[in-house]
């Protein structure tokens, strides 16, 4: 006797609900941020929306208050806020009145009052970051309200310094200021920024001035890099000397998150219980069912096919986890490597670098490098390909980890698949890499590619190492030169690979 349809009817909805709720809990648990949307009201009873993006776990963090540029809104602030929040800062943005300065003042005051009451705000570590119009507004606010000044003010591509009087002294100021503007800023040339800098310096403000090379007024192409660097600058200033000692990257956070199957255990228990219950209720048939010849043959066919399929599946799934040896290489050559990739497999497998490495690493290099070579727009000859694209060796150190290809390929290949030249690809790669990796000056930082990927922080030499790996992962021939800088093969000669717009501020 099988369970009645009515009993079975509630089994599947409950199972689906448990799976969904498990997935929901998992998604929430491994989400990097907490986003808080709130509405505030000014003293003039004007309401405006704000958003706070906080790192996990919830505790006190240094805070960055961000004012977007002209035409911006909260919906378009998310990427900038997350860039900075990934660095362990709580970020807050507001939907301010862009046409009325006094309305902005009231809104900003209301926001600061609100932040004063929040438990997650470290009140001794606050920075204001303004972009274009927002930069002018927060600078104006800071100068008019010195008692509310933050520890750090970042003025990014503002425009109104010419309005500041050069002869009359400003109210006293105590915060540090970073002036940042694009090199090709035609709307507001750097001479004006210098003028603003001199005014602020004359008023005893601690000042830092930087230029983002190769960018326009709105630093459009390098915006991700700029906000990453602004976040790094804020963290360095607000968290003190050991700012990077306790840094926990987003990649590390996600790697430490609980796996999905753990959240699906209740559903598994429910399914197992249902199966057990149905077996218990099944009453054994009083007489054995007689099978005819066709049915017996069908069972044999099913059994043979099942064994065959299981064996093939085991070869494909289990073998890559074994170390590289003569036997595993032979199995891989026969069953796992596609005919078009056998030459590469033969070449790479013969290299004396696989001692203690898993076969999976070798197979990934062969498969992904071969696939990328086929689909990218540029051509690379066999020798260059084998030596500087397929090869996992970058520094040549004996203990160099080789298992870097897949994560880098998954991250970078989607970005470059539409590009037509190796130079364009390199520009995209270096930009995206700098958006993800902090370049610090600490001597103890790892220079191994998998560790850099996980910790998202390294020194300049380590950045060049992962840069070469990233270029190779997208099919661009690359190597380190004698000074440790990344070099790129442009089809005719080796030349220095493009460097990030900002190394560090």
């Amino acid at each position: 006797m099988t369970p009645s349809p009515r009993a079975f009817g509630s089994f599947i909805p409950v199972l689906v609900a448990l799976l969904f709720l498990g997935a929901l809990a998992w998604a929430k648990e491994h989400d990097l941020f907490v986003r808080k949307w709130f509405t505030l009201t000014t003293a003039q009873h004007e309401s405006f929306r704000c958003v706070a993006v906080l790192p996990k776990p919830m505790r006190q963090y240094p805070v960055v208050v961000y004012a977007h540029g002209s035409g911006g809104d909260l919906m378009n602030d998310g990427t900038a806020l997350r860039q900075m929040t990934e660095l362990g800062l709580a970020t807050v943005s507001l939907e301010y009145n862009q046409t009325n300065t006094s309305a902005f003042t009231a809104q900003f005051e209301a926001l600061l009052r609100h932040l004063d009451q929040q438990e997650w705000v470290n009140k001794s570590a606050v920075a204001w970051v303004g972009f274009t119009l927002g930069a002018d507004r927060i600078l104006d606010f800071a100068l008019k309200h010195p008692e509310r000044q933050p520890q750090l003010l970042v003025w990014l591509s503002g425009t109104t310094s010419s309005k500041f009087p050069t002869n009359s002294p400003l109210k006293s100021s105590h915060c540090s200021v970073l002036l940042l503007h694009g090199e090709w800023n035609k709307a507001f040339p750097s001479v004006h920024t210098k003028k603003l800098a001199s005014i602020l310096e004359a008023n005893a403000m601690r000042l830092d001035q930087k230029v983002v090379s190769g960018t326009s007024y709105e630093v459009t192409s390098e915006r991700g890099v700029v906000f990453r660097c602004v976040g790094e600058y804020c963290r360095s200033h607000l968290a003190g000397g050991d700012a990077w000692q306790n840094y926990r990257s987003s990649a590390q956070w996600q790697a430490d998150a609980s796996p999905l199957w753990l959240f699906w255990l209740p559903a598994g228990v429910w399914a197992g219980g249902g199966w057990f219950w149905s077996r218990r209720r099944k009453i054994a048939s009083p007489e054995r069912i007689k099978l005819n010849r066709a049915e017996i043959a069908l069972r044999w066919v099913a059994a043979v096919l099942a064994v065959w399929a299981s064996a093939e599946t085991a070869i494909h799934l289990a073998t890559p986890h074994f170390p590289v040896e003569r036997t595993t290489l032979s199995i891989a050559r026969r069953y796992l490597v596609q005919p078009g990739e056998r030459a590469d497999f033969q070449y790479l497998g013969a290299q004396p670098i696989w001692d203690g490495q898993r076969l999976k690493t070798l197979l990934e290099h062969v498969e992904l490098a071969g696939y990328t070579r086929k689909v990218v727009s540029w051509q690379v000859d066999d020798k260059m390909y084998q030596g500087f694209v397929l090869s996992p060796v970058i520094t040549g150190n004996a203990a160099e980890p080789l298992n870097w290809r897949r994560p880098l390929w998954e991250e970078f290949y989607p970005l470059i698949r539409q590009t037509s030249s190796v130079e364009d690809a390199a520009n995209i790669v270096v930009r995206h890499l700098r958006e993800r990796i902090t370049i610090a000056e600490d001597q103890n930082l790892s220079r191994e590619v998998p560790t850099i990927q996980l910790r998202q922080i390294t020194d300049e030499a380590g950045f060049q190492v992962i840069y070469v790996a990233a270029l190779r992962s997208v099919g661009a021939p690359a190597r380190l030169d004698v000074s440790g800088r990344a070099m790129l093969w442009d089809g005719g000669k080796w030349e220095a690979a493009p460097q990030p717009a900002i190394i560090h501020l």
Binding site: K28, T79, E295, L298, A306, T313
Partner: protein
Amino acid sequence: MLTPLTISKLRVFGGILTTAALLFLMLFSLFADSPIPCTNGTICLTLSDLNAIVCDPGVQWLVFLCLVAYVLSFLVIRCQVERLPFWHATNSSLWLIALLSVGTFAYGFDYSEAAQSTRALMLLGGATLGVGATLKAIWREQGARTASVDCLIIIVLAAALVAASLWYPEWSPTFAFRGYARWTGPWDNPNAYGLLMGVGVVLAVGCAVANYEKVTADKSEIGSSKELGMRWKCVVAVLCLASVVVIGRGLVHSYSRGAWCGTIVGLSYLGTQRIRDHGSEFRRWIRVNVLSLAVTVASVLALISWHYRSTEWYPARRAFSVNSTVDSTWHDRVLSWDCALQITAEHPFLGAGWNQPERFWEQYYFPTGIPVGAVIGLNDYLLLGATLGIPALLCFAMYIWLCLRNAPQELQVANCLPDPPLPILTSTVPTLEVLQAICRAGAIVLLVGFWFNGGLFRLPTAATFWILIELGRRDLTVGNAK
């Protein structure tokens, strides 16, 4: 004073008129958002005017209110006809009303954002059309559900899909992937085209099987009048099979994996439903050998996927790309599902609101720096949860579950009722239960497709889905007949 004869004639006339209106609306929904520039001035003008009305936030609320009035009226009338206890958890209409209420509340609560797209309108419009379609079918004889109107709807839908499958690929927008043109038919999206072709395949197969079953059933009652009917049924079955070939070609050339998967699931469902109705010997054979068959099919699929994962034949490569380590589309989809779940987790009760998840996810949820496409719109269930919250998703899930669940005892009475006088169809009209199974199978194709490709908020797929799921509802009872 109207005589009974006049009243009867008026009723017939009214019936024909409403059926024609329903079919027109169905076909209009199917092809209204076709991107192909029309040449007929009047039609073109009307379509562009309609499009302007539904897209204009100044008047969209009026259309929305009209649809609310329609769907509520339809549901009230249906409850009257069905004579079901409305406040009962097993009443699917109750869950549908709850879903639409949440959607309407969210629409009104943040109208300026909701009116930025036609999503809310599509959900409500599709549901209205679906409820209206069944109303026509069940109202004809005051509660006696008839099969011929259902059959007519299915035949017209299948014929429209056959016509769409014959669309020249050159007439459609180009949609290529790695050098292979993906057919889009009269629509702008190969996934929508693939899903509708999948529905067409299932409907055509269902009709062919139903007619074949009638032929075999009639063989036992040989007579001169029966022979003519049998020949006609054979012709219809052959036509249906020919349609399967034509639509199947479109399905393959859509290269839509979600549509392929949906079609397989839909056909499997249809198969199990038909097996259930077959003789005890066949059912016994299936029951005894189901495990062997399942193991055989799974093993063959596993072997093929390992051996042909790098094949150059594009349809096979596309089909087995799930097993490919260099296919990033699967990875992107999982990322987008993750984002949608995160949005739902942060707005569990009322959701983020209409059109908000699409705005939120790129800026606040999707990993920074990774190029985003429109992948979040590809899973309608998670999008619905993120937009309207978990309660709305629960309502939708309950509605679907109640529509698809088994309740054969409730339908036996309906099948005993005489067919209405639609002479053209009577010889080939399958029983209501068979038609319902075909409709459910078609709806299942779309339900699977909504997980991978989306379509619940697009007019052609949404209208088709709501009509099929409503026509195929197994919980639809006939109070009067009982």
